[in-house]
Symmetry: C2
Amino acid sequence: MTAKEKVSALQAAMKKQQIDAFVVYSADPHMSEYMPPEWQEREWLSGFTGSAGFVVVTQDKAGLWTDGRYFTQAPVELEGSGIALFKDGIEGTPDYMDWIISETSAGSTVAVNALATSHKEWEKLKNKLERDDRELTDFPLLDTVWSNRPAPSKNEVFVHPLALAGQSVAAKIEAIRSKMQEERVQWHVISSLDDVAWTLNLRGSDVDCNPVFLSYLLISEERSILFVDREKLNREAENLMAEARVEIKAYNDFFGFLKTIKGQSVLISPTSNESIFQALNTNNKITEKPVPGNLMKAIKNDAELRGFETVMIRDGVAMVKFLHWLTHQAGKEDLDEYGIGKRLEAFRAEGKNFVGNSFSSIVGYKGNGAIIHYSAKREGSAKVSNHGSILVDSGGQYLEGTTDITRTFPLGEVSDTFKKDATTVLKGLIQLSMAKFPKGTRGVQLDALARMPLWKEGKDFNHGTGHGVGSFMNVHEGPQSIRKDLNPVKLLPGMVVSNEPGYYVEGQYGIRHENLICVKEFKTTEWNTFYEFKTLTLCPFFKSIIIKDKLSSKEIDWLNEYHQNCKEKLSPHLDGAVKEWFLELVKPL
Amino acid sequence: MTAKEKVSALQAAMKKQQIDAFVVYSADPHMSEYMPPEWQEREWLSGFTGSAGFVVVTQDKAGLWTDGRYFTQAPVELEGSGIALFKDGIEGTPDYMDWIISETSAGSTVAVNALATSHKEWEKLKNKLERDDRELTDFPLLDTVWSNRPAPSKNEVFVHPLALAGQSVAAKIEAIRSKMQEERVQWHVISSLDDVAWTLNLRGSDVDCNPVFLSYLLISEERSILFVDREKLNREAENLMAEARVEIKAYNDFFGFLKTIKGQSVLISPTSNESIFQALNTNNKITEKPVPGNLMKAIKNDAELRGFETVMIRDGVAMVKFLHWLTHQAGKEDLDEYGIGKRLEAFRAEGKNFVGNSFSSIVGYKGNGAIIHYSAKREGSAKVSNHGSILVDSGGQYLEGTTDITRTFPLGEVSDTFKKDATTVLKGLIQLSMAKFPKGTRGVQLDALARMPLWKEGKDFNHGTGHGVGSFMNVHEGPQSIRKDLNPVKLLPGMVVSNEPGYYVEGQYGIRHENLICVKEFKTTEWNTFYEFKTLTLCPFFKSIIIKDKLSSKEIDWLNEYHQNCKEKLSPHLDGAVKEWFLELVKPL
């Protein structure tokens, strides 16, 4: 079926059920960023493969809303689907709720699949629609249209060893229970897969790149119940759960169990799916608060931080070998973006305890570098030769930690304009790297540091500056961030975030420089305790695209120190021609 | 009566009425920052004269909560009162609500005067107390204790001419009604005095320094009703109201009128007093949203911006004459802080259309400069001589606009440490002045620019970086700000804000450099429309306290350009020795 045929089939089902508009969010029951194949409803329906975006279908129209990262990619993938593109965040783009109202009449019925809709979004949509005399209803309409939906994975669930996790399951549950007491709740529902996996020191592979497994976790003052298909747990995992007194029930028994909870106070994150709220909210008192373990997970303990430092050496060595290979082979052998991504994965796989990529590598040659979350397909990705620039954003999952790095570099001649922009972006990365800030500071207060060099030239980038990164866990995690948004979460020692300013010229080139950085104590004075960032990522930048005169003396000092650190940490693991080339790269500017 | 006696009298009244805790906010029925004498309940009760802070009294204890600006001043003023000081924003200081709960038992009654309590605060307190089985009630208990409360002022209400206001009353009411339509409300209550005065192009003098008058304004789709004592309006003001079809009713008839509104949808700011909500919320549908005119007021129109530029010259001339006088007379004549403030007012009064100070001048010599909102009293203020530094923060109300400026300068020898700190603070002011930022940026994203030079030394200041400033109106206005807080209001062209980083060493010196700056368009590119700040204030900084080596070349360029601009704008209005001295001050660094 083509996207056009799928939309028609959905519209026919809508007519039958007297549904006037239907929203297909990009979501699974766990509000995961990366979803298992059976929950890729939006992608199945529309053909759009971006990580964010949702489709609204009315009886005669269809539209996809997505953000700046996909403004180049989406029109290509939507071609011929009859689905119109709505550019989120651009002036004049209607909010999808307003659009639904403008496309339907009073008394209409709007449906979503509550299992794949966050409670927060459900409430917002419901209130908005009711105000305009439209009704919101739960109807898993795609079930009737998507006949060959894949079956859920049966992949193994295994233990993340205590030596790497740094904290026992019992201690984590204890800490969560103590937060539950503060909130005066008797039960707590954890539906986000990385929070379940972190709490239980378990990992899986039910989705690409994220080492998580389909599950729910319920914690009460007395009980912990993991809802997962038991046969997926290996022996060690079974034993760990028994030892930690975690009961195991079938994944499909979750909603049945919820209905047995009555007259209790229950803590649920408002980002959990709406079906959980509907199962609980008639008999119980609901406290809507973020999952307490989410913040605990973000603050890496010493074992986890040691893990990060370990894998950064491995990852840096793989990157240097890869960069040496690519810059020397471009123009000599027949290369394309997809193959380059695979080759990078192979360099990482040479390292110890490599599990897989932490996300789909982004290899964007020339103009493709401007497609922010570009993912080159096996078939038909661009040929790469020895001219122009290339942007490579990639990361690895290792048992000890997770990496995420972007380098933009020349494969031959690049323009002065490119060099100027590359230097401006680098200034932003350095300014953020050098920041010191008092306890209590939030990411939004620091975001402008990474953007100001661009802003002074009337330029910007349409994505966040920094996201949290898990410890052998999701490469994107919360609750902290460094973005323009008013995220109230404070930056705390042990938090790992990315530092990734960029600049993109459509059709010409994309620039992004990305390191992972970690919040640590700077000093305590009579005024406050101050924090700073420690850069974790170890991989040189290319001096050949840096215009030295545009850097301040402090920025040059930072860069030289960074390269000196790369040299100390990585050169013992390099030899021959690669080492020789590397030692040139890390010489002072 | 001493503060101790007043608290005892209040506690006796509490016992009689079976009230276990009573909160005296620093508030009037209009939630004004500067209150008329009859509403200075907290100051009357405690003796603490700071602009922020509130008192909680239980049957056997009393405490005052205030913020970092007053940590030095409050203990002095509270001495002997028996009122304990709670330092807001310092770790370990209990939230006052938690403190009330810890000091009372279940079933207790807590009272406030709802007329002097914002709805927002009332709701927060009520919810918190109810959760712990305590009841919140409205009881104007101080009425029974404060026997000689002053009578309300009868000061004249007069017209702010259209040529200066730049927009007619009819046009403003029309714009507000259009926002009311968007919000689908039939009535709108305006209880904040500056919003009333702005909407009606009227001014008064019922409180110190702010040209406002006690009033409420009600706007419906058809009617506008001003509640004010009619005899205060002069002929011109009466005529303007008649022309704009604004009905006039007595100030005391306001609540009676509210009770006649039934079955309507009403827009009220959640910062309005709780009594308004209680008068309306049984019969009507309340929409809690900021006063729409508040944002309109903050975006200055061309006439208002011209007014600012005009008064900055006048204010700059007064400041230069004052600075010349003080730096030459210190050590020669007998000077004290209070007298210096009066002398500055006299220099301003030489200028055209000067109405009065826009706030109580802060003249802080040496260690007194570290008391952030220090106000030297007529009796016993510190003697000032020709050594050490002095901080002078002051402003004027002129018919054309409002000013607010701080300069910190030496009267003799100052230490190298002082110079280093003064330069660090100046770097912050300059960094913020040089910022460029895209449409949509909020103050919280820029606040760190002004603090980063201090943060890098483990230093900070305990106040906001920037507040909005009115146009012949309150010197502190919203809704925008440049602070650490997550204020969602975006910075827009025409907004005037202060840029005032500082650094304070208790007992030694205080440093603050403050200019007013205005948001204006920088450039529109393919990426966005970008804004920048135009500095409005015209008055040199003292190069003698600046360590040139600590400034970057861009910072030096900014300072030299700023001084060149001061020279061009102010020197035509100066002559003789003052001019000669001034021309030295503004020479390039």
